[in-house]
Symmetry: C2
């Protein structure tokens, strides 16, 4: 392996000069810089990551902690991860993939060892057990999802309450008065992930404002489960004409079942789904939907991390250090952790109208 010293010798300069060419932290004359750059190229030099990390106490690595579970929103998780990875690279950072399998301790291990400079936590629960560690960690963290108490935290998420309201608005505008929500699997509610509740809250809230009725039924993704939920809905509220589907794996079965039961979409029943566009467009009737902006969530998370690191990127965009809340190294002993800024970035939902929603039918009650 080629070392910096060898590059220096080859270029006829000192090691520190090569280092400064690499980092740009001091001005180097054009001729010297070019000579060094040529040597780097000719020798095929790659700075040693460990040495760099040791000397600078920065690893240029961002840890991403993903849920191990794959019962929900797999494509969304995947897209977030990919967005994080590519955005991080655009800022000259790499991504370390962690799972929650290891438990909250992983946070301490990765930050404590200096393996990563910052963390991004996915699938945050209302009372997430990683939060205490995030609070005490000497490195920045960004959450994807909202915990119950966001004080001192930085979070990104889709505004699920607004999403719920948006779905209701859309159906209400089309004249629907009786709505049903096919929700997530009961397990999701039990886990207190928050987003499912927030969606329902948004739906109920707006429905109440507009004087609509709403029936909410949790539902697994399986065909039988959707069949059951649907049966219960029409049993209890035969006049239902608008359905909001939150569980993306329920959309396929739902459409099949409606067709089976002789209910036309959108003529008899309108359907709005909360799901990736890919799912919405691949069904027999293209679905009016609100997409979860997975890519943007991942990208934003990284950008918030970069801002907190006060960094300026490698190949990335220049500039832009959003100031965080104070530094403050105390004099003598252990100083209390400096109070941190609270940042909650909720992304506005966008509804795309497709074939599955239309005017509410005249009902003959």
């Amino acid at each position: 392996m080629v070392t910096l010293a060898e590059v220096a010798r080859h270029a006829g300069v000192s090691a520190s000069t090569v280092s400064y060419v690499l980092s740009g932290k001091r001005t180097i004359s054009a001729p010297t810089r070019e000579r060094v750059e040529r040597s780097i190229r000719e020798l095929g030099y790659h700075p040693n990551a460990g040495a760099r990390a040791l000397a600078s106490s920065r690893s240029d690595i961002i840890a991403l902690m993903m849920p191990l579970r794959t019962d929900m929103y797999v494509p969304v998780m995947m897209e977030i991860a990919m967005a994080v990875a590519t955005t991080a690279r655009a800022h000259g950072r790499d991504v370390l993939l962690l799972t929650d399998q290891e438990g909250p301790e992983a946070v301490r291990r990765v930050i404590g060892s200096g393996l990563a400079d910052a963390m991004i936590l996915m699938d945050v629960e209302l009372e997430d057990e990683r939060l205490p560690l995030v609070h005490e960690a000497p490195r920045p963290a960004v959450l994807i999802g909202l915990p119950a108490d966001t004080e001192g935290l930085t979070c990104v998420d889709l505004d699920f309450a607004a999403t719920g309201r948006l779905c209701v608005d859309h159906l209400a505008a089309l004249g629907h008065r009786e709505l049903a929500v096919i929700g997530e699997a009961p397990a999701v509610y039990e886990r207190h992930t928050g987003f499912a509740e927030r969606t329902i809250t948004g739906v109920r809230e707006r429905a109440a404002e507009l004087g609509l009725r709403v029936l909410h039924r949790p539902c697994e993704g399986s065909f039988e489960s959707v069949a059951g939920a649907l049966a219960r809905i029409f049993d209890e509220r035969p006049a239902t004409t608008g359905i909001v589907v939150q569980n993306e794996s329920a959309v396929g079965p739902l459409l099949s079942l409606l067709r089976q039961q002789g209910k036309a979409v959108p003529e008899d029943i309108s359907v709005v789904a909360i799901c990736p566009d890919q799912v919405a467009t691949q069904t027999s009737v293209a679905l009016t939907s609100v997409a979860i902006p997975a890519h943007e969530m991942g990208r934003r998370a990284v950008e918030l991390v970069m801002a907190k690191l006060g960094a300026s990127a490698g190949t990335g965009t220049g500039a832009g250090t959003g100031t965080g809340a104070g530094t403050g190294t105390g004099a003598g002993g252990r100083v209390a952790a400096p109070p941190r800024e609270t940042v909650v970035r909720l992304l506005a939902p966008r509804l795309t109208t497709r074939a599955s929603t239309g005017q509410a039918p005249r009902l003959v009650p």
Copy 2:
């Protein structure tokens, strides 16, 4: 941050002693070890990753290069990634997440900088452009998927040819004589990912042996696309009674369409899918299927990496390295890059019989 030196002082021993306690590379007397371990715990010490990497020239990181594309097998990719992450941790390693966005250069960067000790490449194409770099890299790599030329490489994959044969065997045993394959999207074939072709080859091969007829139609995952493929199939071969679906996102539409067309599954048409069990069991008719053993692929990949690193694991299970279809190590001179062993580990497919396949109907031709 607590350093090794502080731990040493706290425990009243030298730094090297602490290091040996940590690594176990030299015997340390029980009392000393316990004292050191207590100090480590009390001080909350975490070895600095950078320093460790620099001194030992091992980062204990495995790089995983994933496809950025999300048009195919997303759940499978995700499951592989998760299996890699958890298995790696069980061996005391972390995982660096790379995408192919950065191009083949990423291999050189990550290996050249010593950021990772080894690589796992997913979604390997027949003539993958990363292969030259893998060959010249001074660190081990494991491929998930088979390139055209596996000489000197280590690969893991599902035996797709056997998968194709297995599907045919199953349908043939039930008396079906005319089969159709709903394949992957044309783009997948154009990309030369290999597995799709290998499946078809297996299907054709066994069909020929058993005297069955097979029609293969590539197909996107959308409803229209499946409808088109299906129409062309029944148009050309009205006597088709057995369908093999390789494109997992086609299964939902396929079942809807068949029902719509008054063809009962399995009474009129038997369907075998190549898809995750989760997909197979969530459909209206539970599907007989061959699952892609994503978890095992990820696990195996890591185990092969560990074997190549000549390591012995951290918290991991012991477990054996089954013998591969290895070819020999050449006995050449030590001058050029030492010839590497070829290991191709093909996992045997397993077919699970569910509701979607049954006796071939008597046809009235």
